[in-house]
Amino acid sequence: MKAARTLFAELFPFAVAVAIWQALAMAGIWPKVLFPSPLEVAQTFAADLASGVLLVNLAVSLKSLLLGFVVGCAIAVPLGYLMGLSRASRNFFDPLVNLLQAIPGLAWIPFAILWFGLGQGAVTFIIVMSVFFPVLHNLLTGIRMVQPVLIEAVRTLGANRGDVIRHVIFPATLPNLMTGIRLGIAFGFRSLVGGEMIASTDGLGYAIFNAQQYFQSARIVVGMLAIGIVWLAMDRLILRPIEQRTTMRWGLVREGLEQA
């Protein structure tokens, strides 16, 4: 019963959005090619799913996204802790990071193509560049926010520097790291789609771009929806369960602030 109610609460906003969309489409204000109806989109979705096209593009895109995300985090996370914990490395890297930070991932496309050629290699590279900065930036904020009294308390219990990092700094920075990871994936998606439109011949971004060339407006929406659904699935199946088991359980982060 509770599960059914949760499912209803989860689906209700989508039902409302689809209803409005369908009503607008049926009102016939715009030509079909500019404003496809939910029904058409659903049909195209089913057809592309059945033919396997959708899953192939999805697989290509997810592979680039995942690889770019892992590489981006693999550089950003150790660098973040290094910069947070050592003044010398902070003084060295901070100006460089700040200079590069404002450059959008997509601005790397020309070089990405020159270095990796057209294809998913170039796309993966710009995803790395897009994931890196939000992860690093949020992690650094998290390190700055660690309460000194926690470090002092464990030091009077006999903790050495390694113990402090492991038992205080890692868990204390987890809420900000999770925020960085969320933003990193979101920025990664933007670069994925933009990158595939310009630098690739497959993937969801390419499919959206290609559909536009043939005025297949329902297929454009299918591609957009696929991205949304993948993100939603990642959030509900991976990120949220992690947060519920850690930062929320520890009382560091709340669901919301209704009581305010």
Partner: protein, 257 residues
């Protein structure tokens, strides 16, 4: 009996970035604490009493003089000088039991021994049934009980307490004070306790050391010869308790003028 903790001519000067000037927080403080003694240091805000405690903990360094514990000069923090803070400072990501077990775990004690220690101190501070709760699920009083248990479980040479009951409500505070005197008497813990509350210091201590306002200097060192166990209902109308309180009040206020 030989002294456990000795401070010799300890001074602390620090640079105040707001006032853009050197501030003498503590001037020429010498004192000695014997084993099993409960000593409170009191004084007005800014007299350097917390700074003194932090120097004993090894979290700050004296500008002049030295502090020794068991004959060894303090150069940094260590498990022999566990500290309880006003803001509890429990690790939010560890349960009550895991917080209390933290010190024994750092010492790499065997699992069975760690668990026995944890059980003992959970019971000692009355937190049985709350072992698996996280700090945010506990009341302020319970958090401070857990913080005291966490330090005691680590078997420190001296227990350092920095205004530990200042953040809890008045009723809870009296309970915690009574529990603390009972526990430290039973465990024969040596305690160095910082507070600005004179009555609290008299109630808890074997000895109260009063510091003057900035720069902090010792203006009184008073032995409190009230019988133990101590309870508020018995002491609140006790003439000797009132006499100690009034004498310390005079000492602190006398230096202000």
């Amino acid at each position: 009996m030989t002294d456990l903790l000795v401070a010799r001519n300890v001074s602390k000067t620090y640079f105040d970035t707001v006032a853009n000037d050197n501030v003498v927080a503590l001037e020429d403080v010498s004192l000695a604490i014997r084993p099993h003694e409960f000593v409170s240091v009191i004084g007005p805000s800014g007299c350097g009493k917390s700074t003194f405690l932090r120097m004993v903990a090894g979290l700050d360094k004296p500008t002049a003089g030295e502090i020794t514990v068991s004959g060894r000069k303090i150069t940094g923090p260590g498990a022999d000088r566990g500290m309880v803070f006003q803001e509890y400072a429990l690790l939010p990501w560890k349960t009550t039991a895991a917080n209390i077990e933290f010190g024994p775990r750092l010492k790499k004690l065997p699992k069975a021994e760690r668990e026995a220690i944890t059980r003992r101190f959970v019971e000692l501070v009355g937190l049985k049934g709350f072992e698996n709760k996280y700090p945010h699920q506990l009341s302020g009083g319970m958090r401070q009980r857990a913080a005291v248990a966490r330090v005691l479980a680590n078997n420190p040479t001296v227990l350092l307490m920095d205004e530990p009951f200042a953040a809890v409500d008045a009723m809870t505070r009296q309970h915690l004070q009574e529990e603390l005197t009972a526990i430290t008497a039973r465990e024969r813990t040596t305690v160095l306790f910082i507070t600005h509350a004179i009555e609290e210091a008299v109630f808890l201590s074997d000895r109260v050391i009063a510091l003057s306002g900035r720069p902090g200097r010792i203006v009184a060192d008073l032995a409190i010869e009230l019988p133990r166990p101590r309870r508020w209902d018995a002491l609140v109308n006790d003439a000797r308790f009132a006499a100690y309180r009034d004498e310390l009040t005079r000492c602190i206020h006398g230096t202000k003028a």
